[in-house]
Symmetry: D2
């Protein structure tokens, strides 16, 4: 079993609420075992620039409740270049980092996997992505907070929607996945949800909405994932087809912010705590996953060879209840 | 002094959080004096269609905390036609309405003023408009809730803005007034606020932001009132001038919704209570206003002959603190 | 396979946020299959009194976001009497209820189990209990909302705790289980958590807090489950032992209220939807459970013969991170 | 006109949300005029101990949204001793502080007044007190946030109160003033409010509640100011007189915490900005007050010779609407 004296942490890719709670948990768990911790700034860029901060039990106090990430984050496209990765590996060895915790989404975990495969860097991943698009874990850090933010916003729309006769189109995040759109739409009883996974027939959709209106339904909230269509194009369909007045909301990066929910604080704390324990058990090249309510490891290779798909039962559920 | 046996209420124009609290207060204050109350649906349309509901002490229970308006609302452009107003006046007299409470913004209050001037309908207005654009009252119903909604949303952006290097452009309501943009920008320490009242020089603005960035400022949140520019056009200026990556949020009607804040519940309760008392004192053709923390009446003619302007000291304040 | 034409629903025992979302999901799923639905008021009392309401697709509109339960709830101690249960069974047969959905905690599910065993009533349970004390399901309805409520409250305490030098004692719900106390304490980084599952040594505890204070720790938040001690008795220990000024918060029933979180809305919607489908599959005498992110059935007999225990790893986690 | 080169700030007494926004506004307004700013820690204690920090434009970034006070606060009873005040005055002169901004409640402002009268220290006060008990200003910093916190909590109680048949007793802050109890009770439509200003007749109160229950009113929320009675003693009256089951919530210091509302951020920003400008105009020995929506100065001597009383119209309003 390898001895671990120093752990490095990065937060990488799109930020997600709860990343700070994970940083805190890794740091304090390591500190309880007398392991040093350093946090690199701006993800892989910090490793390349040797731009880091020493983290201690007390320096991570009061960060759990903060949105975003105190380590900041960046997308580092040059990390696709093997020579750049080699440089990162050299830097990590120079700095005597015996374990690297990578907190982020698929792109970030791919970087981790390659550092492990190519340079034998003892990495462990923690899934953080508001899109819930990471396979092999029931939930990723940030999803729950993001959903609650979207639901709170849409709930406010319902108030005003009931006062007027209009369609409200809300664009939410989700380039490749309709998870946020579907789950937030379910949570507010939206009249329709437009997602990348299911082709939309605007004729059928606007007809249905029109029939419902005639039967007395006042509210009309349509949730659209940015990966399926833009709010503006959906609005045009409504206005052209049924002459419906529409109003648009684009939530944008509000969905990435906010103090994390209890769920995300707990999930991030558990995953950060487990990441250190798994590193000590030598489970390198893996990702911490939530499975049946327990934290387990899954090889990064497996995680990254799969694609998370939306449960079709959820789609039927939304259609039945809306 | 006229005897008042029956009061009618309408909520009209754009809905504002707190309208229900005003309806409740009018109803319960009237009920305590054995005055009947009816609520017309959809503003002036309900008067024209004699579409109304009897309101009682208990029927308005549990509505105070709801956003929107249980009486629904509508814009009724045909009310600009004097014959239509004559019809409304006839209906009110048929229904033996001795006092009409009009809860809404400038358009709605103009209708009230004309009903009073042309047909001697004993009206009293209650200012409700999230834009805070109604003269002669310190605050209108809905402003405080709207501001808090905008501030909560922008605060979430700050988290994620600190994690990345980007400009975040947030479009808020305010066609004719920059009040919401200015006050919400002040409340989150936005880097810039673009409002209809002050011409914007994009060269100067983007230069300043660029200088601040070079001095180490990470966040960049720009708030824009819809009446000054669209978020997209602001974003284009940033991207073209300084190559800044931008992200857009358009809050839209979220700003009209939500359970009212304590301030709006209290303001609406006080104004509704006072409206009934002022009607009983014969103060027709007036609007209830908040002045030095007290509810007073102001003639509708005066209110509607003025234009509320943004206090220039507030603009200097925002420039100093941001 | 039995034919199901009419389903009855009760919400029973302590109310939990999300119960309404479950009622809505059962009703709309049943309605989509042309099954009639009636909701009994006040749990088993409504069955005994034949006090119920017909529920339809539209009558459950707008209830998902409401805390509490529109069907109201009650504890009915006389339901321990077999003759009373026989009467309930007769009433259900009189009313031609072919399936009974019981939404509640252990006491309520025990009633359901007995109706099934003694009178062959085709029951299915949905676990709802803010204490998360129901075995065989990862989560019960209401837990997530309750936790977020407690965390929001404690987070506010942290602000003021950092400004002063005092200990803040917060009493949360949990007669038999320390789940809420432990998870909320974890989520805010409380300095100590006192739960029924772990005996507390006040000498050791106050010594530790005192040492931390001397090392510069400003905050001191102690969370106590009502089943372990009262806030007042904890405060006395602090004041007597270390002369610490203390301040007390007792959250009380605030923890049962509030609009449900996205998690609880989704969980309740999925469980309500599945409950109807499981009834149609003849899975009587069971409870809907969340297991590995899927809804499954577990025999009520099994559920009620077990006791949910706190995962000791969670306790170690809290000790490590606090 | 005196030249001001250096300003000192303290936050003193009970903390109130918005204090940080005031510190930020004073600092940035002073910085814009090239005035140095130092913040003393723990109120007057920091002046006595010369325990302070230099504040700059950037060091107050990101503090506006935080509850509590970054300068911490303390009650310093020995400040009643003239010799101690003389020492504080000497320290301020040693440190070349040309203007002292005191942010706090009546006790803190009394200290400021004495420093001005006895030692000619150029002080200016900013009213901050969640109780809204400071005369001559429409609002003090922190009141609005406190009210919203209380209202949010009570609104959650209403959900669960409607599900059960019980009385819920909520104890809120307010030793000498019933403002918070009255305004929060108004905002949630509480069935009764017990405040120090109005003697309570428990026979009459419990009779009324009982009659309302018999007429079908389900909810029963009673708000009590800590200065009038304890929640427990109110509960005993209910249980003894009418055998009513009761449940207790004691909000405690939660009411002091939380991120400030838009109102408090704006009020604190305006008052901090004005305080600096008023100091430059030589308006020493005064307090910044909000009057008719404008910031003005009032001599501390006047403020402290008066007592703010609850507007009796507000009490009638609450009785009429509840």
């Amino acid at each position: 079993m390898p001895e671990i004296k120093k752990i490095g942490i990065i937060t990488s890719g799109g930020d997600a609420p709860g990343m700070n709670a994970a940083v805190r948990a890794v740091t304090r768990t390591a500190a309880s075992k007398n392991i040093e911790v350093i946090g690199f700034y701006k993800g892989y860029a910090g490793i390349l620039d040797k731009d880091f901060v020493e983290l201690s039990y007390s320096s991570v106090g009061g960060i759990m409740e903060k949105g975003g990430t105190i380590l900041r984050t960046a997308r580092v496209p040059e990390f696709k270049n093997p020579e750049i990765r080699a440089e990162a590996a050299r830097n990590l060895k120079d700095l005597k980092v015996d374990g690297l915790v990578v907190i982020g989404g698929e792109g970030s975990l791919t970087g981790a996997k390659l550092l492990f495969e190519e340079h034998n860097i003892p990495v462990i991943g923690i899934p953080a992505s508001i899109d819930n698009d990471i396979p092999d874990t029931d939930m990723a850090i940030g999803v729950d907070t993001c959903l609650n933010t979207a639901v709170d916003a849409m709930q406010k729309l319902k108030d005003t929607a009931s006062s007027h006769e209009r369609a409200f189109i809300v664009e939410v995040m989700g380039r490749g996945s309709g998870y946020i759109a579907l789950m937030s739409g379910l949570s507010v009883g939206a009249e329709a949800v437009i997602i990348p996974e299911v082709p939309v027939d605007y004729n059928e959709l606007t007809d249905r909405i029109w029939q419902e209106r005639k039967r007395g339904k006042i509210n009309c909230i349509v949730v659209v994932a940015e990966g399926a269509a833009s709010a503006y194009s959906v609005a045009r369909h409504f206005e052209n087809k049924i002459g419906y007045e529409t109003r648009i909301t684009i939530l944008g990066h509000i969905q990435r912010g906010g103090s994390p929910t209890a769920f995300d604080r707990i999930l991030a704390s558990r995953m950060g705590y487990s990441a250190v324990n798994f590193l000590l058990e030598g489970k390198f090249g893996t990702m911490v996953a939530l499975e049946k309510g327990q934290t387990v490891t899954v090889p990064l290779e497996k995680v990254l060879s799969e694609k998370k798909v939306l449960d079709p039962k959820l789609i039927d559920l939304v259609n039945t209840l809306s």
